[in-house]
């Protein structure tokens, strides 16, 4: 199957360096302190943030800073073939939750909230590729909605290597083509990398190309998300 046509068009009509369409809504869930429903293409993720609140497990409490607890779940209807992941989620969910927790623990200004906890819960409602990147973006937006002080507006993006071309923001079909996928999250102003994960093999020059494409993708996504956040803040202010 051809994933990138000779003219440079992908299966959904995008070019190699174009990200999918983004839609986002802050405050989607009322009981949480902050929440965000984010769509990138057909991948839909809901993130909620509660905190700062009392630490649930006293043994984990830190006197210098807050702790961040993260839960990552996929709904039963999210994948193209329905799958029940159980109440705890499988190993991949736990791994994703751990990595996201480590990234957010660095992103949030935890020194300002000693002896407390932030709980970030992420649910993937529809999975069409790039779930971890969209989950990170949704978590950042939910933290912004909750008014939690952050170091920067972290954004994540995925990129891969298919048909000898580096492509950004892959969907499910491109992801399962067998090529590599790199997920990167950068702080937009400094350009520092906060999250980096790749599975599969890539030669070093190819990896550099894919990584720089992913970083450019992050900046694209960041611009779009900033516009959404400003619009929503203006809307609530005018009310």
């Amino acid at each position: 199957m051809e994933y990138v046509s000779p003219e440079g068009l992908r299966l959904d009509g995008r070019r190699a360096n174009e990200c999918r369409k983004i839609a986002c809504r802050l405050g989607a869930v009322e009981h949480a302190d902050g929440s965000c429903y984010l769509e990138q293409g057909n991948t839909k993720v809901l993130a909620t943030v509660s905190g700062p609140q009392e630490v649930e497990q006293r043994s984990q409490m830190s006197h210098e800073c807050a702790i961040v607890r993260c839960e990552f779940r996929t709904a039963n209807f999210a994948t193209s073939q329905r799958k029940d992941f159980g109440s705890g989620g499988d190993r991949r969910h736990k791994e994703a939750a751990l990595l996201i927790q480590q990234t957010l623990a660095d992103l949030v200004l935890v020194q300002l909230f000693p002896r407390s906890q932030f709980t970030v819960c992420i649910t993937v409602l529809q999975a069409d590729g790039g779930e971890r990147a969209v989950a990170l973006n949704a978590a950042t937006l939910a933290l912004i909605d909750a008014g939690v002080p952050l170091k920067s507006f972290l954004t994540a993006c995925s990129a891969g290597f298919v048909d000898d071309t580096a492509i950004v923001d892959m969907n499910y079909v491109e992801r399962t083509s067998g090529g590599a996928e790199v997920v990167v999250a950068v702080h937009p102003d400094s350009g520092h990398v906060a999250y980096l994960q790749m599975d599969s093999k890539l030669s070093i020059p190819h990896f550099q190309g894919v990584m720089s494409l992913a970083v450019r993708g992050c900046k694209q996504v960041n611009k779009v998300l900033r516009r959404f956040v400003k619009k929503q803040i203006m809307a609530t202010r005018s009310k």
């Binding site: 009981h31 909620t48 709904a75 209807f77 819960c121 649910t123 409602l125």
Partner: protein
């Protein structure tokens, strides 16, 4: 004992009895989602308000909250719906998968309902709650034979359609079961099952093969005309309240849920909570439930029909 002391004692006894009663009445059962419990004073406030037909949000006892439903928010599933009932929000995704039928019923397909709460609502007792809600939804939708399972059979004994109804409770402010049943009805009304043909196997060994249609738009809707809606009536003090919020559920003594179909037949009933209801009370509740069920049916059918006609126009 002397005269003043028995009076004091009886007063103390009365107070003790009152707090015991309040404690009993505040445990309505496993279906509660509340993270924060309410104080005895709030409970008294709600109860006296209900007696005077004024609830905390200004509704009367038999006023149902307005709900709004969004159809097909998840185009990747065969059918889906998102329903908001006040602050309660549920998301239902329906997926049809081809699987082997049960050995006891080889000529029928299956409907399987699973409810999960969003991880932000998880806490102590959330697993029990999810199991209870899954069981209640399964009883109302699947066990009541509202969906024709014989029509879901593809090759008797070998392959059948299994309709998975997966629910995620995103946010909760009481009456979650009713919201789930309404959303499931909308999602099932929105569901399209891909068309297929059963042909003889190419090898000519008498086996049958399934050929799915190549056209992604070649699909049939499910017959959901017999699907019921659920109306839960909560008994607070001596009065009955419809569509309770989570605060009201915490002062309730008992809760009766009736599943009523579009023709007004009662498909299933269930009672939760430690309190008791008199038989005449049950009949009265059933009358209210019937009236409210009619309104709910009208609204949900209108939403599903308008969406399906829009979909037909698009195709």
């Amino acid at each position: 004992m002397n005269d003043p002391k028995p009076q004091q004692q009886s007063q103390q006894q009365q107070q003790q009895q009152q707090t015991q009663k309040q404690q009993q009445q505040s445990r309505v059962g496993v279906l509660l989602f509340s993270a924060t419990s309410i104080s005895p004073d709030e409970s008294v406030f709600i109860r006296s308000g209900v007696e005077q037909d004024v609830r905390n949000d200004g509704r009367g006892r038999l006023d149902h909250r307005d709900f709004d439903v969004e159809l097909a928010p998840l185009p990747q599933s065969n059918g889906s719906a998102r329903l908001r009932l006040g602050r309660t929000q549920v998301l239902v995704g329906v997926n049809a998968e081809l699987e082997e039928p049960d050995s006891e019923r080889p000529g029928r397909g299956k409907v399987v309902c699973v409810v999960k709460s969003a991880p932000s609502l998880a806490g102590k007792g959330s697993r029990k709650r999810d199991v209870a809600l899954s069981g209640a939804l399964q009883q109302i939708i699947a066990d009541s034979d509202a969906i024709d399972t014989e029509a879901l059979c593809v090759i008797p004994g070998k392959q059948c359609w299994v309709i998975y109804v997966d629910v995620v409770v995103v946010d909760s402010d009481g009456n979650v079961l009713d919201a789930i049943v309404l959303a499931a009805k909308a999602a099932l009304g929105n569901t399209l099952i891909p068309s297929l043909r059963v042909i003889d196997s190419e090898e000519g060994d008498g086996k049958k093969e399934i050929e799915l249609s190549e056209d992604p738009f070649d699909a049939q809707p499910l017959d959901c005309s017999r699907l019921p809606v659920a109306v839960s009536l909560t008994k607070i003090g001596s009065c009955v309240v419809v569509d309770a919020t989570s605060q009201e559920e915490q002062c309730a003594a008992a809760c009766l849920t009736f599943a009523i179909d579009a023709d007004g037949n009662v498909c299933s009933t269930s009672k939760t909570g430690p309190g008791a209801v008199s038989p005449s009370g049950v009949i009265e509740m059933l009358k209210y439930a019937g009236q409210i069920a009619q309104q709910l049916h009208k609204k949900i059918s209108a939403a599903v029909d308008s969406d399906s006609s829009e979909r037909d126009d698009r195709m």
